[in-house]
Amino acid sequence: MGDGWISRRNVLAALTAVSGWAQLPNTEPEFVCPMDRDVRSSTPGKCPRCGMKLVAGIPETREYFVEMKRDGPRLALLVRDPSSGKPVRDFEVMHERIFHLFVISQDLEVFAHVHPEFDPASAEFRIELQLPKPGMYRVLSDFYPHGGAPQLIAGTFMVPGVGFRIATAAPPPDLQPKRGENIDAELLLEPQRPLAGFKTIMFFRVSPVDGLEAYLGAMGHMMAASADLIDMMHLHPVYVTDDPGTAAKQIQFNIIFPREGMHRVWVQFQRAGVVNTVAFNVPVGALR
């Protein structure tokens, strides 16, 4: 290869170099969406799925620390850099926010996708959550520290109270169509009986379509959690198409459930400014 290749590589890499992203040796850069890692491009630009700026290289796995404090309904989260131990104050906007927090109760009844406020003085993210039921709550903190790679950090807090007991939910399967605030959502699975370790395509047939719009930069948001709340997966649609023969949109998510067992899947779609959250219980089998 001539010099032109090398200079092109260096120029492109320098243009888009971000620490926290390992540059690959001896090669032209490949640009990856920090959120949707399967979106790749040989040229810089924006992700067609979520609009984020593509980054050269591959993300370095460095898990940031999230310290949680609860005081009554007030929850405070402090992000620390794993290398320096210092609080992080600089975050990239991801899906229109710098921090997405998901909270799920052990009985799978409570699901919240909220956006705590950053307090510059303390470097804490703060939010009030009314959680009347005692028990275990699992959380997923979704943020993109400047100089790092996007993070999905799991955490747990306990809500004490009369009858506190840690218990695992065992919900029955529920694949029935759901009615949200102002949409109907039907779930189709391919294969119909998902298997752990194999790709499952989840089609949500959403109607009516007029006014259906992006919510926080994506046509849908999904949280899929194993009933024991060990696996918590956060996904965005790979395709949105017109559903043939019906007046609905088909919003497609691809997932590989890691383990067998019941999973609760929450999806959020927005129509005419209204966020709809609906949930399904998806049984996942195992190949034996």
């Binding site: 032109g4 390992a22 090669t27 591959i58 799991a154 306990m158 370790g197 060990i230 890691p258």
Partner: protein, 209 residues
């Protein structure tokens, strides 16, 4: 500047049906170096260090990591925060299953880094027990007498009513049990009760240092 106008060559991956952009030389080798190579180096356990060695294990890698048997860390992430946490993140599990389900492609050998597999650190030793009567900072926790296969959450019930997550063991395996060291010692005042649920799963020992 001639190169600026050239399009990039797209690497070819042989003739297997490859449906993923995740490759061994790019992402998976780096993950293995970081997360598996302390054991799968041909000495401690069978090697997974290069593509030729790892490829035949692809299906098993997906199974073992998806079911959280490998790496054998046993502590659920985000329930107590430990030093040198060896558990895979959800994204790492997804990456490996995407790679395997997508045909486990090798990728361009140029993408390989100079290999620097992680080496095993000597586990710190703890000998001073924490006791509820006196309380104080807890530096580490060890499952004791756990039933093989048992899963349980361990919490501290503070005198003021607060409840602190300490450790969540998922499918206890006595062959790879360990002492878990907290990233930041957990301060538990005198009178704190340590609760394992379900209680019949076993018990734990807490260490001050």
């Amino acid at each position: 500047m001639r190169g600026v106008l050239l399009l990039l060559a797209v690497p070819l991956f042989g003739h297997d049906v490859v449906t993923t952009k995740v490759t061994w030389t790019k992402e998976v080798s780096r993950l293995v170096d970081r997360r598996c190579a302390t054991c799968h180096n041909g000495k401690t356990s069978f090697p997974l260090l290069d593509y030729a060695a790892a490829r035949p294990w692809a299906k098993a890698i997906k199974e073992e990591t998806g079911n959280r048997r490998m790496p054998p860390w046993q502590a659920v992430k985000g329930f107590g925060e430990f030093r040198d946490d060896a558990g895979l993140t959800q994204e790492e599990i997804e990456l490996l299953s995407d790679w395997v389900e997508g045909g486990a492609p090798e990728g361009d050998p140029q993408w390989l880094l100079e290999r620097k597999p992680a080496t095993r650190k000597a586990a710190p030793r703890f000998g001073h027990r924490w006791r509820a009567e006196t309380g104080g900072k807890v530096a580490a926790i060890r499952p004791d007498g756990f039933r093989p296969g048992a899963s349980a959450q361990v919490v501290a019930e503070l005198p003021d009513g607060g409840i602190v997550p300490l450790l969540w063991i998922y499918r206890f395996d006595p062959n790879s049990t360990r002492t878990y060291q907290y990233r930041v010692p957990v301060d538990l005042p005198a009178g704190t009760a340590i609760r394992v649920s379900p209680a019949e799963a076993g018990s734990v020992t807490l260490f001050r240092r």
